[in-house]
Symmetry: C2
Subunit: 193 residues, 2 copies
DNA sequence: GGCTTTATTGAGTGGTCACTCAAGTATATA
DNA sequence: TATATACTTGAGTGACCACTCAATAAAGCC
């Protein structure tokens, strides 16, 4: 009896993620979303409920894909190799919506209002941090880095540096590759000798 | 003949800077400004012309104060000492509007729209970078760091790390002091032996 | 083909946005 | 004190905001 929707829900979420990522929460209007996703207001609200609900789905997808990418990279290059490769990969990615981390952007934009989406972005940053921590732990377990390092502390510094790098990469008066290379050198320097 | 305004223009700009800093560009309405600055719309527009014009003044003040603070610090602690001290000072500052750098926030928020204020924030980040570069150069000239380092490259990495740190400092699941201390250690490690 | 159930449409909602302007008020000079 | 010159006031502007809903169209099952 039911009629199927004519759109691919998951593709729409990915598209919305890119718009939100580029323009931010306040900078994206329903009109923007409706025209890009080719949905009339009625369909939009039937499908997602609200702008914030769609934004939450977009954040979730962003986190999921980010973690998956790091884990794939770790399978290819090993944990330390993945951590070392990531900075330059981020800088050299072919036209992403923005080089700046969407979680960091959302967290910063909405924190002052105590908006629920800021809390969610913060929680997702925490999950990303755990992902980095796990990789440093694995590197340590493999003996790639010395046992005197604290993986959680290394991960916090690493994530912080990465957020700075990604913001720097959006500027055109800064050599982000040089920064990425220096961050990678810091990782390399941890390698147990 | 003329009547003097009843407000202190410079104090109003500082107040506006704090509101914009905390809430961002899109997150701050004229109503917010009018109620906080105790200005009716007519007075507001007579005094500043537009929301964007006031934001531009706020950015300018932010940059000016930031550079002045670094230079004062350098007079007290020397160039390398100032660079080393700054990370922890930023983290431990008593309730600023936001730990996140206002220039970085503005740049990230408005870049997608090619807003003029984003370009201005970007330019100011460049001036801040020059300030850091000058301090590294001075440290080198004094022989505090080795001659094999490139001050511009050190400054770019330093500024990038600082932006990451300041975002991290707004999270409550991260030990920003530890990150600040690690950044300071990196500076210390440059010291010529 | 008839019927049920859902998707789609787009004009319309009240509210807020940045901003304007004419009228009223206070002050420094002459 | 009279007057010119500002500053101050606040209701009002059209545009846009997120969002609603009744009408219409299309698909699956009998």
């Amino acid at each position: 009896m039911p009629r199927k929707p004519s759109y691919d829900r998951d593709a729409l979420i990915a598209q919305a993620r890119d718009i939100f990522w580029r323009q931010g929460w306040a900078g994206t209007s329903l009109k923007d979303l409706e025209s890009e996703l080719k949905l009339k207001p009625g369909s939009f609200y039937a499908a997602f409920g609200s702008k914030d609900a769609l934004y939450a789905l977009a954040l979730q997808k962003y986190l999921h894909d980010s973690v998956a990418r790091m884990q794939t990279l770790a399978e290819e290059l090993g944990p330390l190799g993945a951590l070392k490769a990531q900075p330059l990969l981020v800088v050299e990615a072919a036209d992403p919506p923005s080089r700046v981390c969407m979680l960091a952007k959302t967290f910063a934009e909405l924190r002052a209002r105590d908006h629920e989406l800021s809390a969610q972005a913060g929680a997702h940053l925490g999950e990303m941090l755990e992902c980095f921590t796990a990789l440093f732990q694995q590197a340590q377990a493999r003996g790639e880095i010395g046992g005197d390092h604290d993986p959680a502390r290394l991960a916090a510094r690493y994530q912080s540096d990465l957020m700075g790098l990604r913001l720097s990469a959006d500027r055109d008066d800064v050599d982000a590759r040089a920064i990425a290379s220096d961050i990678a050198s810091d990782i390399e320097r941890l390698r147990a000798t």
